[in-house]
Amino acid sequence: MTPPPQPLRPLARHTGRTVPLRRSNVDTDQIMPAEFCKRVTKSGFEDAVFHRWRSTPGFVLEEPGRAGATVLLAGPDFGTGSSREHAVWGLRDWGFVAVLSSRFGDIFRRNALKNRLLALALPEPAMDRLMTRSERDPSFEVTVDVAAGTVGADGDVWEFDLDERTRWLLLNGYDDIAVTLREAESIEAYETQRPYWLPSIRPDHPSVPRARTAQETT
C-alpha cells in the first residue's frame, strides 16, 4: 500500500501545566452550551468553552495561575451526553493538548482523539494523586508520552490504553480519511455485494454502484 500523506505535525510527547476540575459527570452541554453549537465554523470556540461556569467567581479555569495550562485533569465520566464535537473544539481552542480522566463519554473521547486532543484514561487513584498535586500547586506539570503510552509526573509513571491505529495516526501526523481512502477498492468490492433489498434514499442516483438485482442473485 502507498504510504498516506502526512499533513499534520506528529504528536509524540507533551509536557504542560494542569487545571484540576474536580467534578464528575461533566457532560458536553456543560463544556459547550447549546447556543454556541449554532456556529458553522470549526475554530474560535475558546470564548464559549465552559461558558456557564466561567461567570462563577473562582472557577478554576479562570484562576490567574492557570493561564497557559495545557492539561485538563477531569473527574470521572467526563464528556458524557451530546455528540457535539464543538466541546472538543472549545477545549482545543482554549489551549488544552490533553484531558485526563478515569472515564470518558465514548463519543467525546473519539471526537477528541480525532482532533488530536489527547483524551486519555488513567486509573482513579492516579487521577486523585494528580488532582491533589495540581490543586496545591498551579505550576505542577505532567508529561504525556504518546509513543510510550504513559503519563508521568514528579517521578510517578502511569500507563494508559490507546488503540494502535490512533497512536499510529498521532505519531505520524496522518489524516484518517486519507488513510481509509487507500482502502477504496475494498469498500467498492464490499458495496457490490450488499443485499439488494437494503433501502436507498435515491436509488436513481449516479453514485449507486451496480448492485445485483433479485433476478441476478437467483
Binding site: 467534578r23 455528540s83 463519554g105 465514548d106 473519539r110
Partner: protein
C-alpha cells in the same frame, strides 16, 4: 457448528469490509454504514472539510438530512439569524452534493430519529449513524445504530465507512411482570438509576427478557433512545414479529419478493442460544412504578412515590459530591416528597417520547381535564407525520381544550437550541432524555418523566401520576 453470537456481533460481522493485509489498523474493523442521517447542527464543518480536501460524498443515495434541532415550532420560518445560517448551510451542502433534505414544512420533516423509522429506512441487521448521540433510538429495529461526532460524519461522507474497534457487549435482562402503570420510559429510567450514567460505558447494550415482550416498537425506541444516558455506545432489541409487522408497507421497507428475502435474513439475526455477553445486568420489573429524575444527570432518578435522597446515602465520594451539587442546582432538600414539587412548565415531545403512542398516552390523561392555573404545557409532535395522524385522531383538540399548546414538529425544548427555551429558574417536567444543568435553556430545572406522568403533572400543577388525579 459456528460459535454462538449475539445480535450485535452478527451485525458487526456482516458489515466488516475485508481489509488488505498491509493496512495499519490495529484492532479496528472497517465497518460499512448502510444509512447516514444528518441534521443542521453537526454537519456544516464536515462539509467544509470535504470542500478543503476536494473529496466528494461517496454515497449520497445512503444519506438523508432533516432540519430539526434549531427549527422554531410555531412557524415554518426561522427568525433567528444564527440558526438560519446553519439551516442555510445544510440546504446549500445538500443541494451541492445531491443529498435528499426534508426542510421545515416538508411532509416528511421532523426529528431525525423519528423520521427515519417511520419511512422504513431502518431495518433489522443494518448499520446506521448520525452526528447525534440519540441515534441509538434506531436500535429498536435490531439495527446497530450509534451517534458520532462531526469528524466521523466527514469520514462517513467521504468513505461510507468508519474504522472502529469492536465494542464489548452487554445484556440488560428485564424479568418479572410489567405493572400496568409502568411505561417504557420508566423502565429505561429505572435501569439508568440502577447502573448509573456511566454504567454501560463502551458497550453495545441489548435489551432482553420476558418483561419486555409486550413493548411496542415505539416503546422499544424510547428505551433504545436513552441507551446513551447509560453510557452505552448503542442499544438494541432483537427483531421479531412486532418489528416485521411495523415495517410492513412503510415507504422504504422491502415489499413482495424482497420482503420475503429480507425476512429470511432478519430471522437469523437474534442472539443465538448460548452466546455470551461481556456483562449482564438483571432487573425485576414487578415492583417498579413511575419514575422521575430529581438531579442533573439521568441516573439521579427515583420512583415518583419517593423522596429526594440525602447525599449522605451515596457511598462513592464522587457520587455524593454530584448529589450535593445537583440538589443545589435543582433547589431541593433531602426528604422532600417528589409529589410535592410544583412545576411551571410541562414539555411532551422529543425523540424519546414524541411519537404517536406518546401523544395518545398524554391525551388519555388530559381528556376532559384542564391544566392547573399558571402551568404551561407544550405538546410537540416528533414529526409532521405524527402531527397529521394525531390530528386525524383528534388529539390536538384534547390538548388545546385542556389549555396546552399544540405545535409544529421539531426538537423544541429538548436541546435549548431554538426559540422553545425554558427561561430563568423554571421547573420543567419533560418527556425528553436529558436533565443536565441548563439543557432546556436558562438555569431551568428539568425532571425527566413519561408522557402519562407529564400530562398528570400539567393537570395537578405538581409532579403527579395519572392515578393521583380525581
Amino acid at each position: 457448528m459456528d460459535k454462538p453470537r449475539t445480535l450485535a456481533e452478527k451485525i458487526w460481522d456482516l458489515h466488516r469490509v475485508p481489509r488488505p493485509a498491509d493496512a495499519t489498523t490495529g484492532a479496528d474493523d472497517l465497518l460499512h454504514i448502510d444509512l447516514h442521517l444528518m441534521h443542521e447542527v453537526t454537519s456544516p464543518q464536515a462539509f467544509d472539510g470535504l470542500r478543503l480536501t476536494g473529496r466528494p460524498v461517496r454515497r449520497p443515495d445512503l444519506t438523508l438530512a432533516v432540519e430539526d434541532h434549531n427549527v422554531p415550532t410555531d412557524t415554518d420560518e426561522s427568525h433567528d439569524p444564527v440558526g438560519r445560517r446553519q439551516l442555510e448551510a445544510l440546504r446549500r451542502n445538500c443541494a451541492e452534493h445531491g443529498i435528499e433534505l426534508y426542510r421545515m414544512g416538508h411532509a416528511r420533516q421532523g426529528i431525525v430519529h423519528v423520521v427515519a423509522p417511520q419511512l422504513g429506512l431502518v431495518q433489522p441487521g443494518m448499520t446506521a449513524v448520525c452526528g447525534d448521540s440519540h441515534t441509538s433510538t434506531l436500535g429498536a429495529f435490531g439495527a446497530l445504530a450509534f451517534g458520532v461526532g462531526t469528524s466521523d460524519v466527514e469520514h462517513v461522507l467521504a468513505t461510507q465507512t468508519l474504522s472502529l474497534p469492536r465494542p464489548r457487549t452487554m445484556a440488560a435482562e428485564f424479568t418479572g411482570t410489567l405493572p400496568a402503570a409502568v411505561t417504557a420510559k420508566d423502565l429505561i429510567l429505572a435501569l439508568i438509576a440502577r447502573i448509573g450514567p456511566g454504567g454501560a460505558q463502551g458497550h453495545l447494550l441489548e435489551y432482553r427478557g420476558e418483561a419486555l415482550r409486550t413493548l411496542s416498537m415505539e416503546g422499544r425506541m424510547t428505551m433504545c433512545n436513552m441507551s446513551i444516558e447509560a453510557g452505552a455506545r448503542a442499544g438494541m432489541f432483537a427483531p421479531d414479529e412486532v418489528t416485521f409487522a411495523y415495517l410492513d408497507g412503510l415507504p422504504h421497507a422491502p415489499a413482495g419478493r424482497a420482503r420475503q428475502d429480507a425476512l429470511a435474513h432478519w430471522r437469523t439475526l437474534p442472539t443465538d442460544p448460548g452466546a455470551g455477553y461481556d456483562r449482564t445486568v438483571t432487573i425485576d420489573v414487578s415492583s417498579l412504578s413511575p419514575q422521575v429524575s430529581w438531579g442533573t444527570n439521568p441516573g439521579q432518578t427515583v420512583p415518583l412515590s419517593g423522596t429526594v435522597p440525602d447525599p449522605g446515602q451515596f457511598a462513592a465520594p464522587e457520587e455524593r459530591a454530584a448529589a450535593v451539587r445537583a440538589l443545589e442546582y435543582m433547589d431541593l432538600k433531602p426528604g422532600t416528597a417528589l409529589r410535592d414539587l410544583n412545576v411551571d412548565t410541562v414539555f411532551v415531545g422529543s425523540c424519546t417520547n414524541g411519537r404517536l403512542e406518546d401523544l395518545r398516552a398524554a391525551a388519555d390523561v388530559l381528556r376532559g381535564r384542564r391544566l392547573a392555573g399558571g402551568t404551561r404545557m407544550l405538546v410537540v409532535p416528533g414529526s409532521a407525520e405524527v402531527r397529521l395522524r394525531a390530528e386525524a385522531e383528534g388529539l390536538d383538540r384534547v390538548f388545546t381544550q385542556a389549555g396546552a399548546e399544540w405545535r409544529l414538529p421539531g426538537c423544541s425544548m429538548c436541546p435549548g437550541l431554538n426559540p422553545d427555551r425554558a427561561g430563568g429558574r423554571e421547573r420543567v417536567a419533560t418527556t425528553s432524555n436529558r436533565n443536565f444543568e441548563g439543557r432546556l435553556g436558562g438555569r431551568s430545572r428539568a425532571h425527566l418523566v413519561s408522557p402519562a406522568v407529564a400530562a398528570a403533572t400539567a393537570v395537578a400543577g405538581r409532579l403527579a401520576a395519572p392515578e393521583d388525579l380525581t
